[in-house]
Symmetry: C2
């Protein structure tokens, strides 16, 4: 029997896309003119611009400025349908996706589920740390940082105080580096005005990186410069160190060093977010689906995977492409064209990754960028890299409104040295601070 | 014993303000130069601009644009201290406020706790309806409205469908009128593009008002015009009707009429939010503290009340002043001056309310305004009133950033006919929609 609002069966093949990140959204757009019905399923009703989540977490941007509702982005695309749902499993025999709102039939299925934090099996770490993979994560981190300072005002014990004022960031990739830089800016320009009663010499920012360099994968020049800038900003960088354990209070590093913090931010690694129902042998290490040059999941004709969840292994990329925005965008775009070719009986075009380089910002006027243009690589740093980073990120945002708002927020922050969004709304990481009778005596 | 971060005792009298709404914040500012220590206690770390909450609830504004952190607003005021805490009770004998973070001594106490929704003792209504008194309320309403439409896509039963698409607003004051207008704009300009599969003729907006007119307290002209505009926008207005009961699905009116909705928005009345510890006889009907002409709570020398929580009865205002922003602002300002006078041994100045009039917006180019200037009253309506309303609200916001952002958002919305913030982040009112096997067959 039919629902009143059943997805119209247009007699066209249906492409079901699971996940509306960079890859899934780009694919949906690329299918605009194709003779297919496009059904995007996501557990959020919006696309989040992940590279700027750290700015939401540090009160620099409003979450509304970096998200865009799918229905709004694609409101004029006639063959586009959206469903807010969680996907539980794929039934390949019936060509059906099992979701929280029922079964959705597909002719072509594209998995674009992205990646999730990798805690390497450490359940205690997963429970006690804060990730920064989603908008909700970023808001929770912002709320937690601000709540920490509010609570710190009541404490009489120095170690307890430091457990709230100190932050440990695990992972020296772009997210970890950018977050450490943003926290150091808050420490320098913003928090001392807000919390005049606290001594911000007590606030330590630790960045823990398992390897010998920050920003692994970028040029040696960029890595070195990022390290120097962070150290100049007073961030304590621990290279060649791993976190062995964290109980919500004490961080023990592989070097034996112990750090005290109630706020450990986990930016140390990601793993694919696969869906049950596919054969186990198509899942490669890192929980990514092995795909051929056309992003077809190995062993399946009608199932594709793009972006972080796909590992397209090649001599240049033996473990698949880096888990960043560009491969996802490029694969999404090409798969859109290839699906049209497939339906028209034309030969498919294999994927070739165009590496445009990488960039990371460390703070005000400080960034590093490796830019690949016309076969050459340019290394930028300092103010120029920072301007390049800002332009690339504003332009990459979705929608005129978001671009304008982010540009204005940044301009305002730049000249005022302020981050205006320091409000606590929504979830805060449950505080473990015990009643401190001495400190409570604020009478 | 002292905490590390004890509030400095400056040897100056301490004024403790409970609540940072319009009144409490204005008072804190007015005490900037006074020889006192100002301690503001609030359970949020920000001031929320309540008159625009309805726009947050209808995806027109970002919550970040209408809130301002107290610490930021008053970061340059040297005698200002903020504490994030809930106040449980006042101990008048010890001159101490009992809070969630301990006891806070006061020399002068000012209660500015505002008002809360009045459900007239109907616990079922309190549980099943959504209020719109706080930012969290507004976000929950926005999330719920959007979730309703997402869920409606799965339903096969017409009554079930209507229970999600229809909205009942109880209360014909400014909040109810403005919300009804905003929902009707979404229905006309925004939702049909987002949800092409739904028939928006099915979406009904009901506004239930107990009395014979909308916007009671404004001019007859304004009331009539608001009614006509809403009806023109397709809002079903029920005058002289009260809600007798609501079980989360069926609304029964005093007229016998029944309406079906899963979303009832309660904007029907407010009651003071008093604190325990004061003598029962100073609490007047409506849960407001009776105060003298200097906002001193009857029977106490060192305890004051301002804004919604205060009822200063006079021949012109036998039940106290209207529970809106202006009396709170004016009382806060005057009390700041009077506390300085008190400390200087000068006579206090009694409060005189300067009624500037009232305004309400119904939608694009439609508003009503009764403006009192130089002893005369002017009635504006339509486009002119809408421009006046917009200017007054932008100017009243706190901080340059918020003013700029709201102005831009409105300008953008005006020309694009769009409301951009249609994302679901955070709490949603628990849905009661049963699994609908027919509707779920979206295969």
């Amino acid at each position: 029997m039919e629902g009143l609002t059943k997805i119209d069966d247009l007699g066209k093949p249906r492409v079901v896309i699971v996940g509306g990140g960079f890859g899934g959204l780009e694919l949906a757009k690329a299918l605009a003119g194709a003779p297919v019905q496009v059904v995007l399923i996501d557990k959020q009703n919006y696309h989040a611009f992940q590279p700027l989540l750290y700015q939401v977490a540090t009160a620099g941007l409003d979450e509304g400025d970096i998200v865009a509702p799918f229905r709004k982005i694609l409101s004029t695309q006639e063959n586009f349908y959206f469903r807010l749902a969680e996907v539980m499993a794929v039934n390949t025999a019936d060509q059906v996706v099992e979701t929280s709102i029922g079964r959705v039939r597909y002719d072509y299925l594209v998995l674009a589920t992205g990646a999730t934090s990798n805690y390497f099996g450490d359940a205690e770490m997963a429970k006690n740390s804060i990730a920064i993979k989603s908008v909700e994560d970023a808001l929770e981190l912002r709320n937690t940082v601000l709540s920490n300072f509010e609570q710190a005002l009541q404490l009489g014990d120095r170690e307890q105080l430091n457990s709230l004022l100190d932050f440990v960031i695990v992972g020296g990739g772009p997210t970890g580096v950018e977050l450490a830089g943003a926290l150091s800016e808050l420490r320098k320009h913003v928090f001392p005005k807000d919390y005049r009663e606290l001594d911000f010499k007590e606030m330590d920012i630790h960045l823990v990186q398992s390897g010998p360099v920050l920003l692994k994968g970028m040029s040696a020049n960029a890595s070195q410069r990022a390290l120097e800038s962070l150290q100049q900003f007073g961030v304590q960088v621990w290279l060649n160190a791993r976190v062995k354990s964290y109980d919500g209070y004490t961080v023990t590093l592989s070097t034996g060093q112990q750090l005290i913090t109630r706020t450990l931010i986990w930016a140390a690694g990601v793993t694919g977010a696969p869906i049950s129902g596919l054969r186990a042998d198509c899942l490669l290490p890192g929980n990514r689906y092995g795909v051929d040059d056309f992003n077809r999941v190995l062993g399946y004709d009608h199932i594709f995977a793009i972006g972080d969840i796909a590992a397209m292994r090649s001599p240049d990329y033996p473990e698949g492409h880096p888990m960043v925005a560009q491969p996802a965008l490029q694969q999404g775009r090409l798969l859109g064209q290839n699906l049209s070719r497939l339906l028209a009986g034309q030969p498919l075009q294999p994927f070739r990754y165009h590496d445009k380089g990488a960039m990371a910002t460390i703070g005000r006027n400080h960034a590093v960028a490796d830019i690949k243009l016309f076969g050459r690589e340019y290394h930028l740093q300092g103010f120029l890299a920072w301007v390049a980073w800002s332009i690339v990120h504003v332009v990459s945002l979705i929608g005129f409104r978001n671009r304008l708002m982010v540009l204005l927020s940044w301009t305002w922050s730049y000249f005022s040295f302020d981050k205006g969004l320091r409000y606590i709304i929504g979830k805060t990481k449950a505080s473990l601070v015990e009643a401190d009778v001495d400190g409570k005596a604020i009478v």
